[in-house]
Amino acid sequence: MVRLLALDPVAIGDLLWTPLLIIILKVVAIFAIGLLVTMFMVWFERKAIAGMQNRIGPNKAGPWGLLQTLADGIKLFFKEDLLPDRADRFVFKLAPYLAFVPAFLVWSVIPLGGDFSDGKNGIVTWFGEQTRVQLADPPVGILLVLALSSIAVYGIMLAGWSSGSKYPLLGSVRASAQMVSYEAALGLSIATVLLLAGTLSTSGIVANQDGFTNWHVVSTGVVPFIIFLLAATAELNRPPFDLVEAEQELVGGFNTEYSSIRFGLFFLAEFMNTVTMSGIIVTLFWGGPQGLFDIPIIPGAIEGTIWFIAKVLLFLYVYVWFRATLPRFRYDQLMDLGWKILIPMSLGWFMLMAALRLGRDQDWNQAVVAIVSAAVLIVCAGLISMAMKVSRANREREGATF
């Protein structure tokens, strides 16, 4: 077998028994962690929102109601599975997989831990084999996440279409246009991170962020992080961007016609995506498993995992907080935010960062570069606002109602 292009040392070379065993262990572990964490996330969201609304929330099943999600999940198994007679049977059955499997696969590229201090690059030794605390480190790295999120669009789009019912159809058309729009903003804000990291691999991106000032949230200047956070929220169809399931208008959105475990898989995918997206945010912008300081006693490899979990929890809380606080966007506001603000802004910021980096490499005067770039960006912003005025004037003249 040829030597493989790889960064996870365990998967290089011939697959002997020990590496194979490690890979199997990792797959099983990731699978179990994925399901458990999603269960926990559902509980956490319900409990946190209950707290914010002065309620108690789930408290019967298990300690602090922790097993509530499990109980709900088991209940779904005993519910009748309906297949609407207008449904396109094949696609109707396929759609839950298209939503659920990509959600699972995102786990594979998130570095869940590892010691990144002193140039160790997160490599740990298990059973005498060097490996990473992440399922796989394929050369496409972060592109895998983008690819999977573009597959996830199909799950929602086809679920709505195949139901043969009007609310799911409306919900899915809205949802796919929304996800597609924000994927552009998402991709452009990742580009700024790649500019600094100089690599696509997620472990490389984490290794690049040693020390707080090197965390990409700081070194890219906060703006790409904010764009990414907003775009990710929209990509997840979470409040305030949950137009997909706007209950007042669309009953339940794309999954109205789904029941039993089919619905369960959509539900699982939704919450798992929330967790993995928080993981991606932490990986890209907040240093992943890199800590701010050394925790005494605990060995380096476990320390990374502790930091990672702490950061992910922070973002999960932010998502819950969004949900409890912010009212839902209107569809035109959503599209305006995505296309007219986030996308031009992320593109502009990318070019600004590229110019600053180039200026540093070429020993240009940084101040001059910054001023010129700022001037260009202001002109661009002016152009966009002029364009919006022109469009507005045209529509007012037409009495536009489209």
């Binding site: 697959l15 599975d81 009007k166 110019a355 919006m388 529509r395």
Partner: protein, 154 residues
Amino acid sequence: MGQYLPVVALLIVGVLFGVLSFIASRLLAPRRPSVAKEAPYECGILPSREPPERFPVSFYIVAMLFIMFDIEIIFIYPFAVARQELGAFAFWEMLAFSSVFFLTFVYVIARGALDWGPIARARRLSDAVSSDRTSSSTIRRVGLEGRLDAEQAA
């Protein structure tokens, strides 16, 4: 390809999980389909309208623009990753590329392709809606005329 092996394994495990859940649900759940249950959801009434046959063209424009930006993104990524070895010339290339993109985008916005829904009314609709109408002015204008209790008091 070795790096993708765990990903493929996870894919298989995920699909298996889905299939097994379906089988479990098939075994555990009751199956008593009825006409009402299988009808399209309409809050319990009989559907009176077919699902929409056609959608606004704006969705098509969004998908088209997304292709444009997707291609921009996939050109930006190699540039971002290999910036250091490419040097200044590549930056100017990227700038030219992005400028063309940006100007097209400005045209698209100016043309109203990304406008959704009716325009927000900035113009004053009528005298009935204006900022100088406050609660105090309105009440004063109505006055006491025609109010029985007020006339009796007078």
